[in-house]
């Protein structure tokens, strides 16, 4: 017989084990220019991700698209076959619900003329719902993929860090200042594209090397133009060429994190010189790599070496992180969409506003009033956190069009926003933000406006609701103030009364609200009104 205490412990342990919920299993599928990859991961209670399976299969999607502009039938069939196998493995883990799988297609798909057909065929045939990833979204996922590594490496506190993801179809640049992304940009200089373009020109040997060099320096030049002219503390790179470089050019001194390899710029340059004249089959023989990797490594390493030189970096940090890591991380974070993320988006919106000289004293008040209204009207609009974030961005950016011209500045705001990238928001998100900003004054949304009419019904409703709130917020925040004030709300029959404290004169606000509150009344069925809330004498509270 066991001692009673031991028995009790055993029971406790058993109960504890039973009480612990099974960990969430998720999967990320990356349909890339040169390979289709799958990671299956497990999310623990702290939001950490453990990768259980990692699969890859080479495809020639990039080759098809970058050379012919469209995905060939053969390639499509092959993709379907590969994804069917992946689906089988996913079924083993019971990963089948849409919220468990994120499947994305990257740069090649953005450019393929038959992308819709591709996405539809692949999704229907395999049951894996594929989305074409926008550049901005890809940048955000890249950030998510490296964030933990940067944090562990102390780089989130660094003054300035450049992160380069050199993929087959495109290159992504992230520029971080004190841990905040200030620049997120995509370039079309992918390594596969490079090979395609260069080899189409019949280059080989020394000629090939010269072309790689020229190509890499052009890409690096674009990168330099995108970032501020200042001392860059660290260059962090990822991608297939980077991984290869980590194996071949690692320096003697390494940090503790096995995910980070430090490679001296000098060694990278040597390696690049050595690789560039080698045709892919020679690389395959020499380094026992796949053909897909072989086409990628030389231009990739060349770009890294040149970027290091241009940025005067001695040790490049090569990180083991992939787009799949970002996707898995994103799913892990979904439950408690982190404030960090929202702050990052807002920060980039503020950066954009500053670029166009918007007045912070005004937009901060509008932003605060918009959010207060949004929260108060939850019952009425039934929208969620993501729309709240879009409203917030629209509030910050609504006036940037004034930079172009004060007249009809709402229209200028619209196209400026629509053509900008906010880190973390998708192209579609940006479209919504732009449209909401456009309606912060003058005409209300209507079928005669093509940008509005082109939106699906659901989005038209979202825009109308958010714009209604923004118009009211903008109406009641006419005079500049140091800090946002507190608003109180009261519903009186069909009126929605906004109570403003300590205001001497609300004439201006009332006037504006009368013209701009029309949309609010239409959308929410409540006529907005603004009133002064007199400070009560202290005794009256009881």
């Amino acid at each position: 017989m066991k001692e009673p205490l031991e028995q009790a412990k055993a029971v406790d342990a058993a109960a504890g084990a039973a009480a612990e919920p099974l960990r969430r299993l998720v999967a990320a599928v990356d349909i890339g220019s040169s390979a289709i990859r799958l990671d299956i991961g497990e999310i623990d209670a702290q939001g950490g991700v453990r990768v259980l399976e990692s699969l890859r299969h080479g495809v020639r999607l990039g080759k098809d698209v970058f050379v012919r502009g469209r995905i060939q039938q053969d390639t499509l069939r092959r993709c379907v076959a590969i994804l069917k196998n992946y689906a089988r493995l996913l079924a083993e883990y019971g990963v089948s619900r849409p919220d468990q799988i994120r499947a994305v297609a990257t740069s090649f798909a953005r450019e393929a003329s038959n992308r819709d057909m591709f996405v539809d065929r692949v999704s229907t045939a395999t049951g894996i719902h594929v989305r074409v990833l926008e550049e901005a979204e890809e940048a955000r996922l890249t950030y998510l993929a490296v964030r933990d590594i940067l944090e562990a490496d102390g780089l989130l506190n660094a003054r300035s860090v450049a992160v380069l993801e050199i993929g087959s179809g495109g290159t992504i640049l992230l520029y971080l200042k004190n841990g905040k992304v200030t620049v997120a940009q995509s370039f079309h200089g992918g390594v596969l594209r490079t090979r395609e373009m260069l080899e189409a020109g019949g280059g080989a040997g020394p000629r090939l090397k010269g072309l790689f060099k020229a190509y890499a320096s052009e890409l690096v030049e674009q990168i330099l133009q995108a970032i501020p002219r200042e001392k860059v503390a660290a260059l962090v790179v990822m991608g297939a060429g980077a991984r290869f470089a980590a194996e071949q050019a690692a320096g003697e001194e390494q940090g503790e994190d096995p995910r980070v390899t430090r490679a001296p710029a000098a060694r990278l340059a040597e390696l690049a010189d050595q690789l560039a004249p080698m045709p892919p089959d020679a690389l395959v023989r020499r380094y026992k790599m796949t053909f897909q990797d072989a086409t990628a490594v030389a231009p990739g390493v060349m770009t890294i070496a040149q970027a290091a030189r241009a940025l005067k970096i001695r040790d490049v940090r090569i990180v083991q992180a992939t787009l799949r890591d970002g996707l898995l991380r994103d799913m892990a974070l979904r439950e408690h969409r982190s404030e960090g993320f929202e702050e990052q988006v807002v920060y980039s919106a503020e950066m954009l506003a500053a670029r166009y000289g918007a007045d912070p004293a005004h937009y901060r008040n509008v932003e605060a009033a918009s959010l207060a209204l949004f929260d108060e009207l939850q019952e009425e609009h039934q929208l969620h956190g993501h729309e709240r974030l879009l409203l917030r961005c629209a509030a910050i950016l609504h006036d940037i069009g004034a930079h172009v011209n004060a007249r009809a500045h709402h229209k200028h705001s619209m196209y400026l926003i629509a053509n900008s990238d906010l880190f973390g928001l998708t192209r579609h998100d940006m479209q919504l933000v732009a449209t909401v900003a456009r309606y912060h004054r003058k005409a209300v949304p209507g079928p005669s406006h093509p940008e509005f009419a082109a939106l699906p019904l659901e989005d038209r409703m979202r825009v109308a609701k958010l714009a209604a709130i923004l118009r009211v917020a903008d109406s009641i925040e006419r005079s500049p103030r140091d800090a946002p004030r507190r608003l109180l709300f009261r519903r009186e029959a069909d009126r929605f009364v906004i109570l403003v404290r300590d205001m001497e004169d609300l004439t201006m606000e009332r006037l504006v609200l009368r013209t701009k509150g029309n949309l609010f009344a239409d959308v929410f069925g409540l006529v907005p009104d603004v009133r002064e809330l007199r400070a009560e004498p202290p005794g009256a509270m009881a």
């Binding site: 919920p21 497990e42 623990d44 399976e53 990692s54 890859r56 196998n85 493995l89 883990y93 796949t290």
Partner: protein, 708 residues
């Protein structure tokens, strides 16, 4: 040994080395200290080994010779020279087999009650019994075929027995006529006789011979002799055994004559005329005729060893022991959570391996079971468990290797059944034979997904696990589990190969890794550090790795090899291999484990593998080499290897000339029989743990299938 192969070449000839192994087995048959049925088994093994050898190796060499290929093997012997040497040695072996059978084994068996009677020895009741058997059961199925040198011959089954009958000339004919009578395949070779104590029998061919006149009414039978032909094996089989010849043979395939005869065995009593006729008709060279002074097909005598009531004529049972680390009452999952498990079969029970699959099949948390199956037994409990799991909705992936030689039919049969039960069945990997022994159970647990892996050196065959000595390594450590997933994702075609964390796989990884390990020892030695390589395997025939070992020997690395069968490395040659010792254990169990140990500057690296060091294993098969880490498992493996190398009772030492000499104990090397030491230790550990559990209770499949 009578033969001394030349000392000129750096390598020993592989065929002759294989024959040498059979001589060592033959010596077991000649060992007077063993009970007679054990000796009979060893003799039978040499015979079945020879059958396969002729079909595959000799067949391949003959094709090369016919095609005019004269390129020498690494040992410097052209096909013709190899064939001549093989024939000479094989004739010696056959003579030894039959001398031993007639002079030693049969008299002892006779004393023990197992008696082969000649027809003259039967009493009248027995004779009547035999005649009745002939008329009732044999006569209806025998179909004599008239043959001549001019006409096309009927297709005789390779390795089947037949009688050649020479008949008197027809009244108007010029010469004698000939006929063939094939022995029915499903008739028992040993016909039990009534009225005798023990087991008395006559051979089937004797019975038919005595009554052969009934098949040719009215014609005088001049002569009747049993014979047996061996055919060139077909390509699918050749891919297995003759891997090193394959490339050359592809070119000569077009010239291949369908199923040519590579060996003719015939009773010595056959007349000169009979022999000459068969030789001419089958186009067999003199060197390929084996006139046998006793019964043909000695391999069939294996069955006698299975007769009930013959325990007195066999050695006592060494029963597999439960290991204290894996109590049978505890789920294997819990056992492995406490730590990795290394098992040494058959001394230690195969039960935990079976239970892993069986418990996984019935466990609601099991997500998937994936396994490579190769040569499983009939009514395999592993297959039954997989079927049960698949029916329950567990994702079962079984890679069924159809190229497992001579087992194809059986494999397809249950593989279909598995597929019907809902398992994903994959019939091998194109272009490669999957020889790796691996099973992984993926289980969802509150702490996260856990993968339980079994890596082994032997097949998932609980029956051969009682005869072969093999290693199992079971673990739930993350890296090994991740590697198992990578392995299966690769062989199922789900993914292109990515890097393994711990294991290495052929055809890509094992050869370079072994070279690296060997060269690292050599380099350490050159730099004055201690170095050493101990390895145990079944065959060592890979020229590249042998050269690497020579190089290490020249650098001063002490290399001790335990090679059971073929060894093309020539040990103990000054300036080439004086630091290399090669030994071979031939004992009760067939040595089958592959264990490699590299000294690694005092922090030894130990591996188990499914692969021998042969080109076919390293280049044309999918194999696994697994590092054994974790102190307990590694120490145990180390001890096993050391004990094998220290054996002085059942070991042979390979001499530089390719011959073997029996190793004897001396002052520095006390008497030690490794297999016995393993058994005793397993028993004492089981005893110390307070229980001695019988194992391998036959477990029937959930729904026994009808055999076709």
């Amino acid at each position: 040994m009578s033969r001394s192969p030349s000392l000129e070449s750096r390598f020993l000839n592989r065929e002759l080395s294989w024959i040498e192994f059979n001589f060592r087995v033959m010596e077991q048959a000649e060992d007077a200290t063993l009970p007679p049925l054990e000796r009979l088994k060893f003799a039978a093994i040499t015979a079945t080994n020879a059958d396969e050898f002729f079909m595959v190796r000799v067949g391949g060499l003959k094709q090369l010779q016919r095609a005019g290929v004269a390129q020498p093997d690494p040992a410097g012997m052209a096909p013709a020279a190899q064939l001549a040497a093989v024939s000479e040695r094989m004739h010696e072996l056959v003579a030894r087999q039959h001398a031993c059978l007639r002079k030693d084994i049969e008299p002892l068996l006779r004393k023990g009650g197992i008696r082969r009677l000649r027809l003259e020895e039967l009493n009248s009741a027995q004779r009547r019994h035999v005649e009745a058997q002939f008329h009732n059961f044999l006569f209806p199925v025998l179909s004599p075929v008239a043959v001549s040198l001019e006409d096309e011959w009927p297709l005789l089954a390779g390795l089947g027995l037949a009688l050649h009958v020479r008949l008197a000339p027809a009244a108007d004919g010029a010469g004698p006529r000939h006929a063939l009578v094939a022995l029915p395949k499903n008739a028992a070779r040993f016909l039990a006789l009534p009225g005798e104590s023990g087991f008395a029998y006559v051979l089937l061919e004797e019975v038919i011979r005595a009554q052969v006149g009934h098949l040719f009414p009215g014609v005088e039978v001049l002569d009747c002799a049993a014979f047996r032909i061996t055919r060139n094996a077909d390509m699918s089989v050749r891919e297995d055994l003759a891997g090193d010849l394959l490339d050359q043979m592809r070119e000569v395939l077009t010239e291949r004559r369908e199923s040519e005869c590579v060996r003719l065995e015939i009773e010595k009593r056959a007349s000169k005329e009979s022999q000459a006729f068969l030789r001419a008709a089958l186009q067999v060279d003199d060197a390929d005729v084996y006139a046998v002074p006793g019964p043909l097909d000695l391999g069939a005598f294996f069955r006698l060893a299975g007769l009930p009531g013959t325990d007195a004529l066999k050695t006592g049972n060494w029963s597999p022991q439960a290991v204290p680390e894996a109590p049978p009452t505890e789920p294997v999952f819990d056992t492995l959570k406490r730590g990795s498990l290394l098992l040494h079969h058959p001394y230690e029970s195969y039960d935990p391996v079976l239970r892993l699959v069986q418990e996984a099949a019935d466990d609601p948390n099991t997500l998937a079971i994936k396994q490579v199956l190769y040569r499983v037994s009939d009514n395999s409990p592993v297959v039954a468990a997989l079927m049960r799991a698949a029916e329950r909705g567990v994702h079962v992936t079984a890679l069924v290797e159809l190229k497992a030689r001579f087992d194809e039919e059986r494999n397809i049969d249950w593989a279909d059944a598995l597929a019907r039960a809902g398992a994903q069945v994959i019939y091998g990997v194109k272009g490669y034979k999957t020889h790796a022994k691996i099973c992984v159970v993926v289980r969802r647990e509150p702490g996260g997904v856990v993968r339980y892996v079994h890596y082994g050196t032997g097949n998932y065959n609980e029956k051969s696990a009682r005869i072969y000595s093999d290693i199992s390594f079971m673990t739930c450590e993350e890296d090994y589990g991740a590697d198992a997933s990578v392995f299966f994702n690769t062989i199922t075609g789900y993914s292109q190969l990515s890097k393994f964390r711990r294991v290495e796989a052929a055809p890509l990884g094992i050869r370079p890794r072994l070279r690296e390990l060997i060269e690292a020892e050599a380099e350490r030695c050159r730099q004055g550090e201690p170095a050493g390589i101990d390895a145990k395997m079944n065959s060592l025939a890979d020229p590249e790795l042998i050269e690497a070992l020579y190089e290490a020997s020249r650098a001063g690395v002490k290399i001790r090899l335990n090679v059971r069968g073929i060894c093309c490395l020539r040990p103990g040659v000054k300036g080439l291999s004086e630091n290399i010792e090669v030994r071979s254990i031939v004992d009760r169990h067939l040595e089958h484990a592959r264990i490699f140990r590299f000294h690694n500057g005092g922090d030894p690296k130990l591996f188990i593998a499914s692969a021998d060091w042969m080109p076919r294993n390293l280049d044309r098969r999918i194999e696994l080499m697994v590092p054994v880490e974790g102190r307990e498992a590694a120490d145990k493996l180390d001890w096993i290897l050391k004990t094998c190398l220290a054996d002085t009772a059942q070991s042979w030492r390979l001499r530089p000339d390719g011959s073997y000499e029996r190793r004897r104990p001396d002052a520095r090397h006390p008497l030690l029989r490794a297999q016995q030491a393993f058994q005793l230790r397993a028993e004492s550990r089981a005893e110390a743990a307070g229980r001695q559990v019988p194992v391998f209770e036959p477990q029937r499949p959930a729904e026994p299938r009808k055999s076709p």
